[in-house]
């Protein structure tokens, strides 16, 4: 394992490099989506990419590290440490994927949609902006830290006709349970 420096730097398998790079790219792309299921899939792909990277880090392939009986040249077997690390990380990513699926299911049961919802602060800023837009006609705008009674999620005005709404059109029906649709700027 101390000899790994020379081996890995000199011979990097192009196929593996492309596979790892591709898995990372697709994984991160999926994780940036709004649908929870795609995020979970992205996490799985990213986990695979990382595990492959760990294996590539072990250098060139070789004999099984655990051999019975006959003495071997220490250069012949594959480096066992990255395999152990990859195994550990496979177990960890597997367990956490299961947890993530359960959480996504819970979220779907509770909210009826598979989407990541806007965070509370974003929604409050949206509401404040809409109010400010509405108040410009009559008076000075209210600051974003406005002390209205609606600082809980889902208790703000559910009006869809405010001028602040950009109307981004894609699947607004998924967010019908809260007041984010009109000002949703994502």
């Amino acid at each position: 394992m101390t000899g790994a420096v020379d081996i890995t730097v000199n011979t990097l398998d192009v196929t593996m490099a492309v596979v790892v790079g591709g898995l990372f790219a697709i994984g991160f792309h999926l994780m940036l989506q709004r649908s929870l299921m795609r995020i979970v899939l992205g996490f799985i792909l990213l986990g695979h990419g990382t595990n492959m990277l760990l294996l590539v880090a072990g250098g060139t392939p070789g004999l099984p590290p655990v051999l019975e009986g006959r003495p071997v040249d220490p250069a012949e077997p594959a480096d066992p440490l990255p395999q152990a690390m990859a195994l550990t990380s496979i177990i960890i990513t597997f367990g956490l994927t299961a947890f993530l699926m359960a959480l996504a299911y819970r979220s779907w049961r509770l909210s009826g949609s598979d989407e990541v919802r806007d965070d509370v602060e974003d929604r409050r800023i949206d509401i404040a902006l809409q109010r400010a837009g509405a108040d410009e006609v009559t008076g000075p705008p209210e600051g974003p830290g406005g002390n209205g009674p609606d600082d809980g999620p889902g208790s703000g005005p559910g009006d869809g006709s405010e001028p602040g709404g950009e109307g981004d059109g894609d699947a607004p029906d998924h967010r019908d349970d809260d007041d984010t649709a009109p000002g949703d700027h994502r």
């Binding site: 929870l36 990277l53 440490l81 960890i92 979220s107 830290g145 002390n147």
Partner: protein, 519 residues
């Protein structure tokens, strides 16, 4: 004996986490968890004394020597942080038992104690581990436990916040694994003690890229600006004691990892300008965020982000005084932040709202709660007799001695941030604890919204009174610890200074981990 001392903080909680899953009666589980944490606390204190008198100690698990097997290492820094962390977890456990978070519903109680003990295991392992991969495993243990705790009794809001938290943490964990893979490919080892010299042999560009990747990974975990967005969004939704323990420990474990890896793996001889800029941004953005908040837990979460910047301040200077300041600041902040969140929980329990504006319309809590909030709040702002002052003074002195643009900018930002922290805290104070002039008898003012059914105060039963007393006691213990940190500032500063010198000169650390020819 040393073997027992070092392995116990990791092994005992994880074994008992298994035992608590066996379906024992609730009372037995509560006593068992408390006993376990008390034992670990005594063990950590003994370890601190041992490492301070005899230098770093190590255990090669299973008898395998260092580059092959798993190594646990304890030096002054890890033993000190371990002691403080376990103290906080113990106090928070007592608070949680008192609050009945653990026992509100049967299913939640079954999950709380094992998850909490696993969290302690992960924290201990992160402090004691001697190689990068085990650091990753430790992070995974504590994060997996934290995913469970943050989604305990999950309603819609908690699920949303838990989802954000989980996904962000998982991404950073996978990036950490990527870092480990790359480091292993480049150097052929993951043992921290062995990596320093080997990374120094690599080309500058490669080691620089690795250092940046590690900074990004630990930056997400430590909530450093601009990677902090998940924290104020997810922490406040968790049950109060869990928020307290997360705020006190999780980010600090990441800061510890940053401290350990940067000094061992990428040592430098001058000020680290990039980290200085990041530290300044963290302090400013965090505290400005705190000023804009109306919710007491969100406000405290933003001050948490802001004060991570103080810890980076010392690391960015990269000299003995700066690192001493960082160590002292971490000890102070772990205690004070936990005390603040617990006191905030007591306040919220009384006023039945987390919104500051609504608190202003309710009757203020008992004077005892006000005192319990005021002491850590003043300490956080760095008012002289309290613990924050000692830590901040050390940092500012380090900045002044170092000189140069970056150091002076850091010191100036630290001063302004302290002032703004005081403002944020006084805002909480005036809303939550002062009788408002405009509402002479505000207890008569009808609440704007009916409180949620589970927060309506039932007629006080005996068990409730007992629980309330436990909660107050736990908070008082944390507050008294923060006072004790200030009282013992002298000895603590000397330990911190020795720990900082140990960080800057890792020869002793390396010599206990590696045998002579491997280095």
């Amino acid at each position: 004996m040393t073997t027992l001392l070092i392995t116990l903080p990791v092994v005992l909680p994880i074994l008992c986490a298994g035992v608590t899953l066996l379906g024992l009666p609730g009372r037995v589980i509560r006593v068992l968890s408390t006993l376990v944490l008390t034992t670990v606390l005594a063990d950590a204190a003994a370890l601190l004394v041992l490492t301070d008198t005899r230098g770093p100690q190590s255990v090669h698990v299973g008898g395998w020597p260092a580059p092959l097997g798993i190594t646990l290492v304890a030096d002054r820094l890890s033993a000190l942080l371990l002691t403080v962390s376990v103290l906080v977890t113990l106090a928070v456990l007592v608070f949680a038992i008192g609050q009945g978070t653990a026992e509100k519903r049967r299913s939640a109680a079954e999950v709380f104690h094992p998850a909490y003990l696993l969290l302690v295991t992960g924290v201990s392992l992160a402090f004691l581990t001697g190689d990068l991969f085990n650091l990753f495993v430790a992070f995974e243990i504590l994060l997996a436990a934290s995913y469970v705790l943050i989604t305990l009794d999950a309603d819609g809001n908690r699920t949303r916040a838990g989802m954000t938290y989980t996904i962000i943490s998982l991404t950073s964990s996978l990036l950490f694994l990527t870092f480990i893979g790359l480091v292993y490919a480049a150097t052929g080892t993951v043992t921290l003690a062995q990596l320093g010299p080997r990374l120094a042999e690599l080309p500058d560009g490669l080691s620089g890229a690795l250092a940046l990747l590690l900074l990004a990974v630990l930056g997400i975990k430590a909530a450093i600006v601009p990677l902090h967005f998940w924290l104020p969004d997810s922490y406040p939704t968790a049950p109060a004691p869990i928020t307290a323990v997360f705020a006190a420990l999780l980010t600090k474990v990441a800061v510890y990892a940053l401290l350990r890896t940067q000094t061992l793996l990428f040592p430098r001889s001058s000020v680290w300008t990039l980290l200085a800029c990041v530290a300044i941004a963290t302090m400013v953005v965090g505290i400005l965020g705190a000023l804009a908040q109306d919710d007491i837990n969100r406000l405290l979460s933003f001050t948490l982000v802001s004060h991570i910047g103080f810890m980076l301040f010392g690391l960015a200077l990269f000299d003995a005084t700066g690192l001493t300041g960082t160590v002292l600041y971490m000890v102070h902040h772990i205690v004070v932040q936990a005390a603040l969140f617990l006191a905030a929980a007591l306040t919220v329990r009384h006023t039945r709202t987390t919104g500051l504006d609504r608190m202003a319309r309710r009757s203020p809590p008992r004077p005892l709660v006000a005192v319990l909030f005021a002491l850590p709040a003043l300490s956080l702002a760095g008012i002289p007799p309290f613990s924050g002052f000692v830590a901040k003074l050390t940092l500012l002195r380090a900045g002044a001695w170092q000189g140069g643009t970056a150091a002076y900018a850091l010191a100036a930002t630290a001063l302004i941030t302290s002032l703004l922290t005081l403002y944020a805290m006084s805002r909480v104070w005036s809303r939550a604890f002062m009788l408002q002039e405009s509402h002479p008898d505000r207890s008569d003012t009808p609440p704007l919204k009916k409180p949620a059914p589970d927060t309506v105060r039932r007629p006080e039963r005996r068990a409730d009174r007992y629980g309330a007393r436990l909660m107050t006691t736990a908070t008082a213990v944390m507050v008294m610890t923060s006072v004790a940190v200030a009282v013992c500032a002298g000895p603590l500063a000397r330990v911190g200074e020795r720990a900082a010198h140990e960080l800057l000169d890792p020869r002793a650390y390396r010599s206990v981990v590696m045998t002579e020819e491997d280095r």
